[in-house]
Structure formats: structure tokens, C-alpha cells
Amino acid sequence: MPIDLHYFGDVREGLGRDGERIDPPSHVLTIADLVGWLADRGDSYAQVFAEPRRIRAAVDLEHAGLADSFFGAREVALFSETRAL
């Protein structure tokens, strides 16, 4: 099922886009799977997602870890460490 993917922070800067609609294959279940799948696209994706542990995520507006599933989500955000205040 397609989901809306949003990019923020260094992820947005590195990819040069603020988001896209994706339809990942069925074996892509977790945030870690998603980051790996995106990295396999190569070029800027490979660079931005080269170190998954530096990637932060949110699933339907809730913070999520690499091991968390995004099954059934309407939107997922991938971003660098936040810098509020």
C-alpha cells in the first residue's frame, strides 16, 4: 500500500526533496528495512542512508525506532537528529 514519506533535516538536504509517495515491497516491514531499501536506490539515497543509526523516524506523527514497524501507516518521516530551541 502506498504511503507518504516525508524528509526533514539533513535527510531532506541530502536528497534534495521534501518527500515522495512510495510503495515498498512486502518484505520491507520496519524502519530499518525501509532505510535499507531506500539506500539500495544508490546515489544520494545511498549516501544519506549509509548510517541507519543516525536516522530518526516518525510513524503517523509518533517517534519510532529502527526496529519499529510502519505497517498500515499513512505517513512516515525520516530525518536527522532534531535541533529545537
Binding site: H6, F8, G9, D10, R12, E13, A58, L61, H63, A77, F79, S80, T82, R83, A84, L85
Partner: protein, 149 residues
């Protein structure tokens, strides 16, 4: 009362503090974050609008559940900012001084840890490293101000 604002415009810390004082509770504590980065000409604060509003509201609700608070006000700016600009305001009105000071520090810390905002130096204006949040980047929480009279 929890008042959350995410806005482009500057804000008036004095006016926001006066709103808290007008509640006539024993203590008010406030925190104002300033972009103290003299080598930068300007930078941009980006945010994830839907999540930022939700996260700031959740942080305010958590503080109200933990301390006896009459009000929490959080203002966080986004968009282009120059060095010296006000970035954010946190203020609480509470039933005692300890609660006010602890709640204000807690809300500030949680915003720093969880709120989805990002700073980006405008190309050619400065070093990105200088814009990380830290002690030199914001004023510490002000001491609670007891109600007069």
C-alpha cells in the same frame, strides 16, 4: 491551560510572561531561547508541522500531569532567523516555586530532545556547527518570580 504556538513572527516574552502572571498563581518561570551565533548571517528553522504541534502539546500535558500547573505557554518560531533573534519561549504558572522551576526546565529539555525542528545555515552565511543547541545558544531558565503582594 496549554497554549502552543508555532509561528514565523517574533514574539514578546514580556507580554507572554504578563499573561502567566495575570493568573495570580504563586510562581511563574520562563525560558527564552536566543540565536546567539554571531558568525552566522541568517539561518532557517524547518519543522514537521503536524508532528511539532502534537509533540509540543504532549510535552505540555505531561508537565501538567506531573506538576501543579495553572498554565503552560510554548512558542517556537520557524523560518528565516538572524543571529540574536528569539527562537522559542517556554513559560509556566504554578502553585509553588519548585514546581514552576522544575516544570519549565522539564518542558524545555523535552522540547530539545523530542520536538521535530531543524536548523539549517543559509549557504554561504556561516558554519553549520555553530548552530547546534547548547549552553551558549540559549539562556537558562529564569528563576521563578513570586507573585507580588
Amino acid at each position: 491551560m496549554i497554549d502552543i504556538r508555532i509561528q514565523l513572527a517574533d514574539f514578546d516574552p514580556g507580554g507572554l510572561t504578563a499573561r502567566l502572571e495575570a493568573l495570580h498563581r504563586p510562581a511563574v518561570a520562563t525560558f527564552t531561547a536566543i540565536a546567539a551565533v554571531p558568525e552566522a548571517r541568517e539561518f532557517r528553522i524547518d519543522h514537521y508541522p503536524a508532528m511539532a504541534k502534537k509533540e509540543l502539546a504532549a510535552i505540555g500535558e505531561e508537565a501538567c500531569a506531573r506538576w501543579p500547573l495553572a498554565a503552560v505557554i510554548v512558542v517556537h518560531r520557524h523560518g528565516l532567523l538572524k543571529p540574536g533573534a528569539r527562537i522559542a519561549f517556554v513559560g509556566v504558572a504554578a502553585e509553588d516555586a519548585d514546581a514552576a522551576q522544575e516544570a519549565c526546565a522539564h518542558v524545555t529539555g523535552q522540547i530539545r530532545a523530542r520536538a521535530p525542528f531543524w536548523r539549517r545555515v543559509i549557504p554561504g552565511s556561516a558554519r553549520a556547527e555553530g548552530l547546534r543547541g547548547g549552553p551558549a545558544d540559549a539562556r537558562p531558565p529564569a528563576a521563578p518570580v513570586p507573585e507580588l503582594g
